[in-house]
Symmetry: D2
């Protein structure tokens, strides 16, 4: 899509969110009704704004990764916007991965209905302690080679979107076999597979991800050979393919929500006194407003840089996505927090949606790898890059090279 | 009460919270059941930890203001602790004010059952825009002198505790009359007065204040002469008497809750990995833990300083309570926010109470005067104090007094 | 210049800074010797890295604005790098403005020797209180129409680079005349004009700008007609042309210095203990390192976005340069501050240059409009943009539209 | 000293600083001349404000630790105030330790002239890497038992105050001997001992500590038996005795300097525009002013709490002094940084002393144990205290105790 078409799509998305989606939003704390979602999906298709990131041949708009940001920000302006446009996590990331590594048959069976909004999906990687969490390598769920397929056993937890999903992409540990080397393997499991059952739901403060975050159990769960996604043993590499962009689309969507919160606060600032006395304290409000603008503009800029890098150099882009994730998740939280402060008592009531927005984005500092884990990875990469540069060290104090310049002061 | 007795009371309160109150806590997001509250009140009386701030002759423990902090922090360790001990806002502040300015008859009728936990109360000051909010002087509700009493008319909003309260203390504007000068007057209104009706409830994210934050309407609401609290026309001065200590007891209670959140995080840190890899990133966790300790210790210290000043110089103490309120409300929020980060996905689920704690304390940066309003007041006082000091100005750059020291560099 | 050439120039600049410039750096707190500067200039010309931003026909490398950032960051890796490459403030901004609005004769006389490094310059806008400061409109220096030219009278202060400059570009207020409308006018004044004299030097903590920040006096200072730069009366518009990009090149250069500080800290972290005990507190160091990476990457990203916008839409780019200036000036300060913390006692000694770097960048939060002034402008623009959007307000609490849902709790 | 006397001493100190000390301050970046110091010492004695912390019998005012803060804050209002009053580091900490553990003969020889201002001292503990730094246990300097005394060998670095000091208190590692068990031992070494020589000076950005921070070498340095301070082998315990209070007096003095910076900024705010336009951005200034007040009040409060605890429970007080050190060192830095921002260009020039103040306090985040080292210790203590409490863990998510509440949504 060329630049002008992209801007047209952005504006159409913007208009659609304002005219169709915002009026259909549930009250703060409630979830999007599945039937309302289906109606919005149909309207989005009619408006030409449906599934902007998905392949054109399946009904999407076929945007390249470095074109996603302006459109996904507009979608995120409503907490239900991404669902209405079918570009919400975890489906959006699953679509991206299926597009890259699924077979034609898998695409027809899973990707097509997923893009069409006829089915939802989940990505079953995280496990209860001490299994795969921030460290995917700790994977404990196994897929054992059996006649004609694989048998999956293990427990997953915090599997976003699992309730009501049509299928799961499951990460499992596999031994070396005729099928491939030892490692991790991704497998497609239909929701009606008797070996897969939903466990306890985990009730979190966010509401925007359809399908909750339950436990999922795999007990003697048989899947045939063609359930393998990509090649056996390469699951960790595929996970990275998924995680970098998925992390970034979260940033895009939540940045849109931050813009919404900021607009709500600006409307209040424009039409009414702040803190009860507009003239005296305006400057304190201006300071909050300016800091939010800075947070949003730097978030937008680092998203753009990361998306460009993901196209040019996927590995470097994935590394930079850690920086984008940490910065954006903290920046959007601050923006919404300031908007609450600017709207006073209404900001913490359900008269305005801001307190729910804060609950919506709070987990983003933990999901997709906690910000502390990402900070650790960022620091390690920075140190390694410096070590690789192989330059002369620059930390040797001059003083150590000096003779003794005795001082006469006292 | 002497120091040793105070420490005994603190320890007894600590034990009571752990053995009786915590096991009775409702699930995150739910409210304390009134019947459970009554039972806890009775147990607290039996344990000698009930109403620690209230007069001994009415069944309290008679602590002086500068003795409240250690005990109220222990009470606040559970979000329902202050209700269990009957030292929760707004009742606690109302008890303090009634003790200071009510007549003996008023004390018997209102203060005694309030201390005993037989009745709740509310403080009806805040009004819809553009009435009394951060600026109490914008008061619009009126009390008009009529035969044998007063007629109150006006609308109040965000009246914490009003649903189910036995009476309200109402701030109303009064003209000069035989009763007193023009100004604001406080009036006691029974909840069954037909002129007082509850309006729309405002649903906020906090749950710890029993009785919600509804609108309250006064229409042709007659009260007799003896409903006046203190002297007519002195309402603003009385409000200050109430607000300084009330602000500070909020700090005490919420600091207790921050300690609870910190303990939950420490337990996690001790017994389990953090961010999925305990050895590697321990230092990042330690940095979060240390910052929380610093926030809690400085909060405790500024509360102690302010409480002491409230006893020694009420006016200066009330001014300093702005500093305490801003610092503590932001510090406890940070502590709970860090605890969530330390507990990962569970921290944003209702498996742990931390996300609800965050919702519980978020409004505290807005209630009791938004932190921005307090910052404005703090700055204004700081500038005035400096101006009063009448010293020689110290901002005159030396350079203006100098001749021209032409430089030869280039 | 195409992308590959740009990358070549960046790498050549990087190599030149490391091999020629860093070894020639003065000790912390001292200034670059003018003779050393001349030698470095010649070497830079020979290496093909001189004046990267200046026109090719005058000996520069002709980079477009949106190509400056990678090269100027490399230049800024040494505090004397920009002087060595002749792309330092205020000359670099003056070159840019002269290129855009000077006559061919003015370019030959002023721009050519400026680009060649044969002459330095200054920009005389700021005035003593209550004249032009953060608010250029308060301009008090006047240029009066006289026979054959103009007479300039007034006092300027904080005129960076003035000591040793060959000429000044002076902002003066002008009345309506045969020459043009009332407004501000820019005039070129040779340093040997007897009407222009240097006043008291202002000694600041930074050292990187050659020529200090003195007062400059204009007393009955005659300049001929052809001293007018651009058209009379359009000075404020021209100032904006200069200030947007000039603000951004500061960001680029200082970001380079931040990278230097970060590398010094990483070298220390790699080869020696941190805080005296490497194993125990490594994580706290990693947190500092990661935060610095985030600060540098977001700075780089917002610079790129702003530079692109300056090319596409100069007015919008100039507005965004306020955001870039505030973010980058605070981010680079934090990066250097963390580097000091990571290097311990050496970091505050002149054994390492870090403490001087901190002094070098501290003024950047004040120069070019204080960050508070920019925040005020950012907030004002954000509010205006929202008001212009003309959309339905989104701050009206739902609660005001509701009937009274009396609650039964108590 | 009773409370009223303490307040009198505080006011006398305040007056002395304003009338005698401030007029004698050197220009920013320069050091206090030793002769001027001597004159100020004499005037301070005459004014009854000399050596407030030192024993009355030696000429001090005999304040208890929990009385130091108000007086030392007044002293610190001038960067040379503590030298003028002879309560500056490292002498003040050395006096405290000598008072507690020196023999009568040692007191007469070392403590008496130190209190009288006739001699300065230093504390020789820190060593070059990998010796004693943040971790005193890494001590490498040795004191070997020899006939009639000890032989000290080793190198010390960053020994504040050493240039011009009359004696050093040296920490050295000692083996078990007839004199005592193995451990660390403190020894008094006269500056004219031929075995002790000053090495390279380390030039740091601070100026307030007389005597610089040089290396000190001990080569075959003989001292007699009576040079041992306290008992052999107990040096580490003594060091803790010194470090807790010494850390806290730094906080007190620097908080005084922060108050000075704040006053300079307030004077500017009162008499002149801020950021060039007083009406528009006043609120942004108020926000800075308020945050500084909050930083100063919380610093004062945590100092008071820590000082009280040092008296009641030295071990707990020493632990809390880590919290005070981290908070105060960061808070005073922020206060001075904001003052610079409020005074604009003058703030970074030597027309005002603020930039030098910033350089003065920057090292305080590193000296006396870097803040990161203290954060590590604070976190460790917090975790240990929680573990000792032995209570039931509170981090077990409810969800793990639940049956499977299958949800029907989706």
């Amino acid at each position: 899509m060329d630049t002008a078409e992209l801007e047209d799509l952005r504006l159409a998305t913007r208009a659609f969110i304002r005219t169709e989606v915002i009026p259909a939003e549930p009250r703060p704390g409630e979830r999007l009704d599945p039937q309302v979602r289906r109606e919005l999906n149909e309207k989005a298709k009619a408006a030409g704004v449906f599934a902007p990131h998905a392949p054109v041949e399946l009904g999407g708009r076929g945007l390249a990764i470095d074109q996603w940001s302006p459109v996904l920000q507009e979608a995120g302006y409503s907490p239900i916007g991404p669902s209405a446009l079918n570009c919400m996590a975890p489906d959006e990331g699953n679509m991206h991965m299926l597009e890259l590594i699924a077979t034609p048959a898998q695409k027809e069976r899973y990707l097509a209905p997923l893009v069409a909004g006829e089915m939802r999906s989940c990505f079953a990687m995280t496990e209860p302690h001490p299994g795969a969490g921030s460290d995917p390598e700790a994977l404990r769920t196994t897929a054992t080679r059996v006649d004609g397929g694989w048998r999956i056993d293990g427990e997953k937890r915090f599997i976003s979107g699992a309730i009501g999903a049509g299928f799961a992409i499951v990460m499992a540990r596999t031994d070396e076999s005729d099928a491939g080397p030892a490692g991790a393997t991704m497998l497609l499991v239909d929701a009606d597979n008797p070996g897969m059952t939903l466990g306890a739901a985990i009730h979190t403060v966010d509401r925007a991800i359809d399908g909750g975050h339950p436990h999922v159990h795999f007990d003697d769960c048989f899947v045939p050979d063609d359930a393998v996604l990509g090649e056996p043993g390469r699951g960790f590499a595929y996970a990275q393919v998924r995680l970098g962009p998925a992390r970034l689309t979260h940033c895009m969507r939540w940045l849109g929500l931050a813009r919404r919160a900021h607009d709500i606060a600006l409307d209040r600032a424009a039409h009414r006194e702040l803190f009860g006395s507009p003239l005296k304290q305006l400057g304190i409000a201006q300071s909050l407003i300016a800091d939010s603008v800075i947070d949003m503009e730097t978030s937008d800029a680092i998203i753009t840089k990361t998306a460009g890098l993901l196209v040019a150099d996927a590995r470097a882009g994935s590394a930079l996505s850690s920086v984008a994730k940490v910065h954006c998740s903290e920046a959007v939280y601050r923006v919404i927090d300031r908007a609450i402060q600017l709207t006073g008592g209404d900001g913490v009531s359900d008269g305005l949606p801001l307190a729910q927005y804060l609950n919506e984005v709070r987990p983003f500092r933990i999901y997709d790898g906690s910000n502390e884990t990402h900070r650790w990875a960022i620091a390690r990469r920075s140190s390694s890059a410096r070590a690789r540069a192989g330059v002369e060290r620059m930390d040797i104090p001059h003083v150590d090279r000096l003779d003794v310049p005795q001082e006469a002061t006292a």
